[in-house]
Point group: C2
Chain length 260, copies 2
């Protein structure tokens, strides 16, 4: 049987510990191609490079794996992998992104470069998965994620995914107690409340650091925040059709300006 | 009656023609506060500034309007307006963004800084609207959009919007024939197919320009692409809960690894 082709990207950059974990697991599952940012791209959301140029350079940091570092965003990396490196001639069997250093649960999915790489895969019709570890440290312990990354990716390769869907997978931080299992979840209803810390630069001008506190409004047990807090791996299927279908009838009925 | 407080942002930057159009219309509807990027931020998606600092400087380019230019992304601008400029003490009655120089129909909503500013508004529970003109030129003619911007914003101020929803409003380019009216739409099923143009820099190193062709797969007449092509204003209600609810039952039934 032909080995699957697996495209790997991330948002912490090609030298991060998280992508090394992901590449090592993927080598057990298929042939791996890495196209990842040459510098950290956290918080880039679904940004793409418009009006500026891109660089793409072969990298030799993964033994036995074809890899490139790209000057662009995670979404740029996936576009460049498919339409330039693979020349649209070969399609990956799965696109995986991560493992992110930090949580991408709940509303953070919107700001996540990790998930934008996965969603680019889904837009192109390829099954795609973003993996994140709810531990922001640079030298985070990823050892407990490997078995789950393998099982989830294998399941997706075997069963496929609904068209237009990418999975947002989050892992609890490494704890003394083993992870309890996997939960299929919805995105929790939560948000960040920002604060801006004012500082003065050496020239006497003000500048600001944005900091945020996460606020969870969700009391349910079927969402990703609950799963992580209870030591489960959370899996949220995400879509890129943002239409709020439930709002269509009301707008059509209520808006007088439609008939003017 | 108290005049509404209207927060204005955009992604083309505070000096663009589009935001000037929007500010002028909003002055007829309420008290206006502008917090907009100090440089163009097209294609920034829902990026936020992580690990870098922000600048915020008062601007005097709009007569009689309090305005600030911010070094960050459109999403940063809205966060900074609410949590720093307004100190969380006053809530805007509506957040408006644009008018973008260029289309944000269909899949482009994901890459749109204009819409990320609006969606930030929705996350905070404020009615929010992103406006875009399907004409990318720097000196585009916005004259036909003004009446519609006024009517749509007035309607939203009067009726409110479903919680968690921001409107993605696109205008057809200025044509000889008048715009036919407004259509409530879903996001069209379409995508960009990228090409990468290779160039050589003065030092002999390769670099690339990303270009794209828009491909519309959607044959329906209820989507935003159809509306624009037929000279209507398109209004798509957008949500930030990305959960693909339709995929939940299948995953729960099909995945053997849930029970291992």
């Amino acid at each position: 049987m032909k080995r699957p082709l697996i495209l790997v990207s991330n948002d912490d950059g090609i030298t991060s510990k998280g992508i090394r974990t992901l590449v090592n697991v993927m080598k057990r599952l298929g042939d791996v191609l890495v196209v990842a940012p040459d510098s950290p791209q956290s918080g880039m959301g679904h940004a793409i490079t418009v009006g500026e140029t891109l660089r793409l350079t072969e990298s030799f940091i993964f033994e036995g794996v074809k890899a490139y570092e790209c000057s662009g965003t995670p979404a740029d990396c996936v576009k460049m992998a498919r339409h330039f490196v693979l020349r649209d001639k070969v399609q990956p069997d799965v696109v995986v992104s991560g493992v992110n250093h930090g949580s991408n649960t709940s509303i953070s999915v919107l700001y996540s470069g990790t998930m934008s790489a996965a969603i680019e895969g889904a837009i192109e019709g390829t099954p795609a998965i973003g993996f994140s570890l709810c531990d922001f440290s640079h030298d985070a312990d990823f050892s407990h994620t490997e078995e789950y990354i393998y099982k989830i990716t294998k399941q997706v390769l075997d069963k496929g995914l609904q068209k237009g869907v990418a999975l947002n997978v989050n892992f609890p931080p490494k704890r003394a107690e083993a992870v309890k299992g996997i939960r299929i979840c919805r995105q929790a209803n939560a948000k960040w409340v920002e604060e801006f810390l004012e500082r003065i630069d050496p020239n006497g001008r003000k500048y600001y650091w944005m900091t945020g506190n996460f606020v969870n409004f969700d009391k349910g047990e079927d969402n990703d925040e609950w799963a992580i807090a209870n030591n489960y791996v959370s899996v949220v299927p995400c879509q890129f059709d943002l239409t709020a279908y439930s709002a269509l009838p009301t707008l059509n009925e209520d808006w007088e300006i439609l008939n003017q």
